[in-house]
C-alpha cells in the first residue's frame, strides 16, 4: 500500500503547480483535490479552465472522464459483503483508479474488510490533498511554466494514461476516431464540445469494431 501513496505524491505536486499556473489560489487547488479527488478529471479541468470558471462545462467533462467509476463501483460493490450499506457508499466516495485496482486484487485473495479498505484509501486521500496544496504553494513561485516546458506536463500525463488503457487494435480504432473527432470539433465548434464529440466518436468506434468482428466470426 505504501508504494501507492508514495506514487501519488509527484502527481499531486504537479496538479497543484499546474493549478497555480492557471491562476487558482492554493485554497482553490486544495479544495478541488479534497472534493473531487479524481486526478484525470482535475487535469482535464485545468486544461479547459477559464476565468470565470464555466461550471457546466467543467461538471460535464468530469462526468465524462469519471464515467468509468460506474463500472468500477459496480464491480467492487459485488465484493463487499463485509461492509454495511452506509460503509459501502462511504467507501465509494474514496474510489480512485489505484484504490479500485488494489481492492480488486485483494478481493481475489481474501475477504475485503472496511478496515483494510480504510487503511488503503484514507492515507492515499490525505497525501493527494496535501501534495496538491504543496504543489500549488510552490507553483506560484515557478513563474511562466511554458519557458521550461511545464505546460506540457498534463498533455504528457494524459498520454501516459491513454497508453495505460491500451488493449490492442480495438483501442487503436477508438483513439484514432476520438482524435480525429476532437481535432475537427476543436477547430470548428466553440467551448468544450470537442470533448463530447471525441467521446461519442470513441463509443461509435468501439461498437462498430465489435459489430464488424461479430460479422466476420
Amino acid at each position: 500500500m505504501a508504494p501507492l501513496t508514495v506514487a501519488v505524491m509527484p502527481i499531486g505536486l504537479v496538479f497543484g503547480a499546474v493549478a497555480a499556473s492557471k491562476g487558482l489560489s492554493s485554497l482553490e487547488a486544495t479544495l478541488m483535490s479534497a472534493f473531487v479527488f479524481a486526478g484525470g478529471s482535475q487535469f482535464v479541468a485545468m486544461d479547459i479552465w477559464t476565468h470565470p470558471a464555466s461550471w457546466g462545462a467543467l461538471a460535464f467533462s468530469a462526468l465524462l472522464v469519471n464515467i468509468r467509476h460506474v463500472l468500477m463501483s459496480a464491480s467492487i460493490g459485488t465484493k463487499m459483503p463485509a461492509f454495511s450499506g452506509p460503509a459501502r457508499y462511504a467507501a465509494m466516495l474514496l474510489l480512485a483508479d489505484e484504490i479500485w485496482a488494489m481492492a480488486e486484487v485483494r478481493a481475489g485473495q481474501t475477504r475485503l474488510t472496511p478496515a483494510w479498505y480504510a487503511g488503503l484509501a484514507v492515507p492515499f486521500y490525505c497525501v493527494w490533498v496535501l501534495t496538491s496544496l504543496a504543489g500549488a504553494a510552490a507553483g506560484a513561485f515557478l513563474g511562466d511554466p511554458k519557458a521550461i516546458g511545464l505546460d506540457f506536463a498534463f498533455p504528457a500525463v494524459f498520454t501516459v494514461l491513454v497508453i495505460g488503457f491500451w488493449k490492442g487494435r480495438d483501442t487503436g480504432a477508438v483513439l484514432f476516431a476520438s482524435a480525429a473527432a476532437a481535432v475537427l470539433a476543436h477547430q470548428f465548434l466553440p467551448g468544450v464540445w470537442y470533448i463530447a464529440a471525441s467521446a461519442a466518436a470513441g463509443v461509435a468506434a468501439t461498437l462498430l469494431t465489435a459489430r464488424h468482428r461479430e460479422a466476420c466470426a
Partner: protein
C-alpha cells in the same frame, strides 16, 4: 488564499458529477444488469476523453508538441508515469528551443 465564487461553484459541480459516477455503480448492481455491449461503450469513453484533451495539442499546435507527445507515448510503454512525463517535458522544451515555437 482567495476563493472565487465561480471557482467554488465549479469545484462543487465537478465533485457532484464525480460522486454520482462513484455511487452509480452500487445502484446499477441493485437494479440492472450491464450487458457486454454497454460495458464496451462505457470502457471506450475514458481513453476517448483523454485523447480529446491530447489531440489538439499533439496534432495542431506545432512540431515541438507533436514530437514530445510521440516521445512520451513511446516512453510510457517502458517507463513509469513520472519518468515518461519528465521525458515529454524535456523534449518539448528542447524542441521549442531548437525549432522555435
Amino acid at each position: 488564499m482567495t476563493l472565487d465564487p465561480n471557482t467554488l461553484l465549479a469545484i462543487v459541480a465537478m465533485a457532484a458529477a464525480t460522486v454520482l459516477t462513484r455511487i452509480a455503480g452500487l445502484l446499477v448492481i441493485r437494479f440492472v444488469a450491464i450487458g457486454p455491449q454497454q460495458k464496451r461503450a462505457l470502457e471506450a469513453i475514458p481513453p476517448a476523453v483523454l485523447m480529446a484533451v491530447i489531440a489538439p495539442t499533439a496534432l495542431v499546435t506545432g512540431p515541438a508538441e507533436t514530437l514530445a507527445t510521440l516521445a512520451t507515448a513511446l516512453a510510457a510503454t517502458r517507463l513509469p508515469l513520472l519518468a515518461a512525463v519528465a521525458i515529454g517535458v524535456f523534449v518539448v522544451a528542447v524542441a521549442r528551443a531548437l525549432i522555435g515555437a
